[in-house]
Amino acid sequence: NAGVTQTPKFRILKIGQSMTLQCTQDMNHNYMYWYRQDPGMGLKLIYYSVGAGITDKGEVPNGYNVSRSTTEDFPLRLELAAPSQTSVYFCASSYVNNQPQHFGDGTRLSIL
């Protein structure tokens, strides 16, 4: 049972480059989330989705975009990467509100 799968695990970008972080889940969960974790801090929500075709902003959405064309996939796109986006990115999913969120293993992203 794969759960939540994130790719890549590590990536180094140059300032101004763009990239897409992939997230897929095989649990048929309705809700999916993207968080970022800066060093020594808790996770902060970037974007979330309550179902295919529906997305909404979280606490820190600037510089990111998302789409949700299928239940399984929730990619996060960084446009014009900036050093402030150096972080560890976590994707998570849950079935409904009263169920815990399942997390992927994270993507460590460095912008140089």
Binding site: G42, L43, V50
Partner: protein, 116 residues
């Protein structure tokens, strides 16, 4: 907006002893969920325990238990018979039961060291 505060950036405990990690939160909602997540150096986010606000009984999972004080908005985690594998960053998190698709709001974490 809800906030979660963990006032202990670091804690340490001797192996086989008991340690309590503190968490307080602020909310105007009456129905919500509280969680403790463990993040070892592998950086995986592992659910330790969950508490539903409408349940008065404190949640327990093996060596892990919580002290949930709803009126005081306090949610501490007790780890009994601490093991070396318990060493990790621990995050307290809040989730609304009212808002659809609601996110987790995390505290800033407590780094737990277990000494042999």
């Amino acid at each position: 907006a809800q906030t979660v505060t963990q006032s202990q950036p670091e804690m340490s405990v001797q192996e086989a002893e008991t340690v309590t990690l503190s968490c307080t939160y602020d909310t105007s909602e009456s129905d919500y969920y509280l969680f403790w997540y463990k993040q070892p150096p592998s950086r995986q986010m592992i659910l330790v325990i969950r508490q539903e606000a409408y349940k008065q009984q404190n949640a327990t999972e093996n060596r892990f238990s919580v002290n949930f004080q709803k009126a005081a908005k306090s949610f501490s985690l007790k780890i009994s018979d601490s093991q070396l594998g318990d060493a990790a960053m621990y995050f307290c998190a809040y989730r609304s039961a009212i808002t659809s698709g609601s996110r987790l709001t995390f505290g800033e974490g407590t780094q737990l060291t277990v000494n042999p």
